[in-house]
Symmetry: C2
Subunit: 338 residues, 2 copies
């Protein structure tokens, strides 16, 4: 297994990226890592992590895609960027998966145009595992496609379902359509039509479709995979982050009120830490782009070493799951007649 890592992407590149990737290589014998980036900088960062494991190689790339670069074209105008070089290697079979904490938009464009979608897949989708009830919730799409068709949503359902079962170990994942009510008459035209397409797939036994689901119930554990257009999916994801951060701040204020509450904070210290850890994006790792021919994992822009290490493990799991093969074998089910 060989994972290609964009050493230059993200707020803490290259130091934290290099450190996380090297930690993964040390922890998993047999795992090969390719660090792509400005050679001198990557080497300097690696030197801080002790002797370089033999399983870690460095590939030089002289450019870096920055947040202000146009995401749609950056990978072309910066042909020698770490992202373009790394994705090209992935495409050419010089690695099994690619991890980057760089610009989401650039990675999506570059991934789609260089690695390419599985034939028949209309759009790649972003599918984070949201750390709510139980094993968590696969939210697909969460922002790659603001405007969607019924076929996109049907495909997202399959992509999310394959990912949940093959990479996350969820058996017969329960797929819900994010909607503003549970009855089949709820929502806009897109939801009405998508419901019918998903129901047909469910009735035929191809998906474990449980119907429409409201955001509240999905968070409570009402389904394993929630299918959404990228606009409302992104609103859901960002709202979860926002409320999490709001609640954290309020609790902090509550525990700082008096000597008594400060004592209370000490008494629940380990519980609070576990709770915070649970909602910590660093624990989760990255968001896979589903529907591409090879695994591409987007790590948070603010990723530190541990997040990158986890994203590398996630990339391994995704590569082992051979999602592209599963998608190809089922692509006929994912078409919507016109």
């Amino acid at each position: 297994m060989k994972i290609i890592v964009d050493a230059m992407g993200g707020d803490n590149a290259p130091q934290e990226i290099v450190k996380g990737a090297i930690n993964a290589a040390r922890a998993r014998p047999g795992l090969e890592i390719v660090l792509v980036g400005k050679e001198a900088e990557v080497k300097a960062a690696a030197a801080e992590c002790g002797p370089l494991p033999e399983t870690v190689k460095i590939v030089n790339a002289t450019e870096v895609i920055e947040m202000h670069d146009d995401p749609a074209t950056a990978f072309k105008t910066k042909k020698d960027s770490s992202m373009t070089v790394g994705l090209t290697m992935l495409k050419n079979g010089e690695g099994d998966a690619f991890v980057s904490a760089g610009s989401t938009g650039a990675l999506l464009s570059a991934g789609t145009l260089l690695v390419k979608r599985v034939r028949g897949i209309r759009r790649a989708a972003m599918a984070p595992l949201v750390p709510v009830s139980g094993k968590g919730l696969v939210l697909v799409d969460c922002g790659a496609n603001a405007e969607c068709t019924v076929e996109y949503l049907l495909q997202f359902a399959y992509l999310g379902s394959f990912y949940a079962s093959r990479a996350l170990g969820m058996e017969k994942p329960r797929v819900g359509l994010l909607n503003i009510g549970t009855e089949d008459t709820k929502g806009d035209q897109l939801r009405l039509d998508a419901y019918q397409a998903l129901k047909a797939a469910g009735d035929a036994g191809h998906l474990n479709f449980i119907g429409n689901i409201e955001a509240k119930e999905a968070i409570k554990g009402g389904c394993d995979v929630v299918v959404a257009d990228g606009f409302s999916g992104n609103v859901m994801l960002k709202t979860i982050e926002g409320v999490g951060s709001f609640v954290g701040k309020e609790l902090k204020g509550m525990f700082l009120q008096s000597v008594g509450t400060k004592v209370a904070a000490l008494l629940v210290k380990s519980g609070l830490r576990a709770f915070k850890e649970r909602l910590d994006p660093d624990t989760i790792g990255g968001t896979p782009f589903l529907g591409l021919q090879k695994p591409v994992i987007k790590a948070h822009g603010s990723s530190k070493a541990r997040a990158i290490e986890n994203a590398v493990y996630q990339a391994i799991t995704a590569a082992e799951a051979d999602l592209a093969g599963q998608i190809e074998a089922n692509i006929e089910l994912m078409k919507v007649g016109r």
Copy 2:
């Protein structure tokens, strides 16, 4: 000031509704309450609350709109329902505002068709005050209109802004457009077009438009009014509720872990209560339907007496604010050329 209350709407009708309305009448001298519903039941419920204040009247209505009735037509097929009778009284000037904890869909249809929208307003919108940072966040629309046009969104911005400033005391409320990024190139076509319409209104000094806003920033207090189509607005609202309930459950588990954590729970008891109260829908009261000629307030279906009492106060505030007058005076600003 005379508030008409649907005594039969909601899970706890008529007892809790009647109690809440009578409590409001007792607390506010000069406030008149009209309880509409099955006379015998309402009288029996009122008898449980002690002597009926002179300011509380009961109007008989022999039918009740149930949750399983078709929301679009229930008010017509059940002409003698508490909702239809109450809204007709409102329309005829026999009261200043109407409060109901009954079916949201039925209330929206009945409110729109009986009380009617202000001339020029395309759609009524639901605008709850979400109890997040600071004074809270007006979320408009949160579910009445799954499918929206640019003109709807522009109108929602004005409706929310007028409500925030005139009824909630927010000065020059900061209006943000819910989007999946802050740049003006973000989002789907609806958002791109709405951004331009809102920016023009902001540049002309009619609205304090601060641009696109992500759900996370809105929750953190980045704006006072967030403008959304009813689909994504509903997803945001339900996600907030879902995460709130999820966090509450997790915290409870944390505090129940050991003797030490139980002691901690005692030490932060008052803080926890304040925190819970803050997020409690009963404290907030109801959701106004903005854009109608007279105030209609939807209380939670699960409302108990305190929630109804608060919804009555909210109805008073809405009536005093004369939102309809403000909307009428500015309706020309809310039109989008075709």
